[in-house]
Amino acid sequence: MTSEELDSLDAMALEFIAEIKDDLAGLEPSLLAMEKKGEYTEDDLINHAFRTIHSIKGGAGFINFKELAGLGHDMENVLMRLREKTLTITPDVVDALLIGFDKMKLMVEQIGKEGAWDYEKEKAALQSILKTDQKNLESLVAVNQMPSRQEDAENIPLEAYQVLKPLGTSPVFKGQEFLVDKKRLDHALAAQKFIYAVYVRFGADLEAKSKDEGAIVDDMKSIGDILFSDLNQSLGKQERDGFFCVISTILDLPLLSQVLEIGKTQMTLVDRQFADYETLMKGVSSRAVKDKPALKAPDTMNLTPSLAEEPSAHGPVESLLSSATTGQSLRINVDLISRLMNRAGELVLARNQLRPFLMSHAKEDNLATGILQNLDMVTADIQEAVMQMRMQPVIDLMGKYKRVVRDMARRISKKVEFILEGADVEVDRTVLEKLANPVTHLIRNCIDHGIEFPDERLKKSKPETGTIRIKAFHQGGQVHIRVSDDGAGIDPQLILSKAFEKGLVPEDQLDKMTDKEKIDLIFLPGFTTSEEITDISGRGVGMDVVRTNMETLRGRIEIDTVKGEGTQVHLIIPLTLAIVPSLIVGTGQSRFAIPQGNIKEILYLEKGTVQSRVENLAGSEVLRLRGRIFPIIRLRTLLGITTYIEEPITGKKAEEKRKAIADRRQKDKADRDSKTRTREKDRRTHPWDSTYVIVLKLGGNLFGLCVDAFYDIEEVLVEPLPEYISHLKCFAGTTLLGNGDVIMVLDVQGIAALSSLKFDSIQTEEARRNEAREDQAKGEKRNLIVFTSGKNEYFALELKRVSRLEPLNPGDIHYTGYLKHIEHKGHAVLLFSMDEFLPANECDLTAGEIFIVFPKQISSRVGIITSGIIDTLETDKPIEKDDTCPGPVLGKLFVDGMMVQVLDPDHFSNLIEQKLMKTKGAGVSRENTDR
């Protein structure tokens, strides 16, 4: 078929092409199912495949695509033999059929382009199947005495003609019978053609359309065979206004009517059709039933889809056709759906705008209420339906992997079974499309690296056939796809050495890596374990691509592997684009959506309980809940949202200034307020009289998020963040509420990260301890400055926390009571000694070299007085913290026979600040510092 021919393709031909594509899509699963069931394949399945190929062939014939029709014919030959049980189904047979199928697909895709239409290779493959099986066939025939259809036709003597009766109630055919050549009839029926009786009116069908008899006969011949015609007998006879003919064609009735331009009432199927169809369906090769009444109950019939179009309401035949129309689908352009979706949203918006108007009328007129309710229902329904349109079950994508797995496994002679679970989990189609690549890579890896060769598996006492399992499910507002195999697993050591060979890991990191880190090396670009590049894998782009793909979906990938037992790759795709039920919460003027899957529970802290349940722990808040303690994050502070306190009398709004719920001021104030204001409503209402705490789960951890209000649970369609704000990790996306407002969807992980919740390092208490131990064992490199204060007491401060050192002449110290000052560049600098903070000996000011250490991050007018600087030292020795260490001491360190107490700079500077505060407040400090 050339492109010129295709230029002339009309709309009908395009319809055929679309239909062929549909048929092809349905063919592959049946072929694979046939292979799986082997010789136990039900006849139904073979018949289904046969019919599908047949209608493809028919369609191809119609658009004059000879190559496709020819290939279809060859495949039909094989299937015919399968149907007759003269050929058993083996993987080789299915291979040949699949090769043919692939070629067909290619041909169809390339319609309209110059392409390779040559199908000799496929033809040869199909024919070789028939040939190799010829011997088997003969023996089979000899044993079973089951002649094939062709032999049937040739060897057994038959009557030469057969009487056909038209079916249906059309008056045109009343009492008519046609005598047709039985051989041709059988041939047509064997080829699964429809046999129609057609009445052509000379006047209405020919002259009115300026055709002559020759033209209509040519038309008929172009779409099928004319088995009978009384054209010659009826020509010139006055009493006849037309002629009958019987034709065999692959077209269904509506199409035939369209092609011949003859009304549907003037054509009908004939009785033999159904007798034969039945034998076909039942797979009974015996012709005994052929003379039985044609029709059975509709449910035993399973007609081809092409037959099922445009059922009309008359007669048993038609009702039978209509039974097959359920489950029809329609192709729709995706853009159209997106547009429809947008418009559905607008419809809701318009409804909302209309609502107050109608409501105001509702009082006077009941009609308005009815209209509003109706409108509500319809818009909700439309919105829901449109949302569903975008969703596709994962089977649409995963289904094709059956074939991929089979082909790949056969190619490298491994035995693999493929199991798909959760096929009906629905995912937004854009997500599904982007999943195709990663999942293919993963499956490839499973087959090539994971599953062992059959003999190897037997040695390891595993079943010979490996299993690849894909499970799709929704969890926590995310789509999870788990690809697992029961193969060899991943050896972290092997990964590490390969990565090292390829120079992907620096040598000094080799022994520091955990197993998980080692396995994660496979995500590095250029990583491969294969020695050679095969057509399946080995180029070292695989897992890198998988991860990149997942990142574009903003998803995660996790690998779980046990050496020798198998690997599990877990793809977690965030709710992006998916519809998620979300809780709408509010803080200040802003509203946010939180995916419901992340929510563990919602607490309402009443007035007064806030103080008792929320503790301020050194500046961070924690919630006490059922004996456990959870960190609390306030959305207001986190996102910098301004909230207002309303003055009850003036109605003025003042900006909320407190920083914490458990702010001490609140309690004092509450007490004071309650004294001065007797009436409850006189109290200022402000957000923290009461608060909602949304307890969120992140992995195995929980934390609370304080919000001012929560509204409702809505199903929201999350759209990705616009590029200008895509760096904001605390948001998962944006969404439109039912009332048309744009709100942000919170990302629980992002929130935890933004508020520096260190969940990663404290997955569990156990993990935290382990890590702490590891940290200590490793010890960071520290640069310490070691100084002394009292005799033989050594302290150290990290060098980076020290701004400068100054020598000091003890005579320069100016005392004011217990306070020591020196002059530095014209300013007074307050000096403290270690013994003012720690249990330590008094600073020895008589020593030869007195130095002042100026710590960083404290007011520049403060120095620490020391009785000498010992040294600076670089150490990665662990600093041991024990219970005897006073607060500001980080731990003890032994260097050159000295015990050095390493100061905790943060804690220390806090102490100094406190000290400064106290000196301001005078008197108070005296008790503490004046010894």
């Binding site: 616009p722 439109l736 048309g740 407002d741 744009v742 709100i743």
Partner: protein, 152 residues
């Protein structure tokens, strides 16, 4: 800008400055109702707006041009770009006018860096000097203005 063609622009006011933008770069002008602020977003992002089911990012080009403190919410309208779901808020919409290409002058050398970056040209009109903005440069501000990102 293509030479020897009449240049058509829409004029608008923003922070007391007369500005214009090529009408071929804009899709539509809508009243700015209910812009959702995005916390922690860069200063030049005013917020998000629902335009018939599409979520538009509304930029505050006053910040880009360094005109005025961004805290004041500009009322009025949003001009939506043709190429992306992005718009910017303006204080008032003027007219669509056209002018000969020859009358267009380069941006004065002493203009602020913001104007230098995002403006193409100026036009000397009776009512004052109009700054002609470059839509493409504004759209790509996320890449040029990394410095204006609000620190987290």
């Amino acid at each position: 800008m293509k030479p020897n063609q009449n240049f058509q622009y829409i004029s608008f006011k923003l922070a007391h400055t007369l500005m214009g933008i090529d009408i071929l770069d804009i899709r539509e002008i809508v009243p700015s109702s209910r812009i959702t602020r995005v916390q922690l977003a860069p200063w030049y992002v005013l917020g998000l707006l629902n335009l018939r089911g599409q979520i538009l990012t509304i930029l505050d080009i006053r910040v880009l041009l360094g005109l005025e403190s961004p805290h004041q919410v500009s009322g009025g309208h949003v001009i939506v770009f043709k190429y992306a779901n992005v718009g910017f808020a303006v204080d008032g919409i003027g007219d669509v006018s056209s002018i000969d290409r020859e009358k267009i002058e380069p941006v004065p050398a002493n203009a602020t860096p913001g104007v230098q970056t995002y403006a193409d040209a100026v036009i000397n009109l009776h009512e004052g000097v109009m700054v002609i903005l470059n839509a493409h440069k504004i759209l790509s501000c996320a890449r040029t203005e990394s410095g204006l990102q609000r620190s987290l």
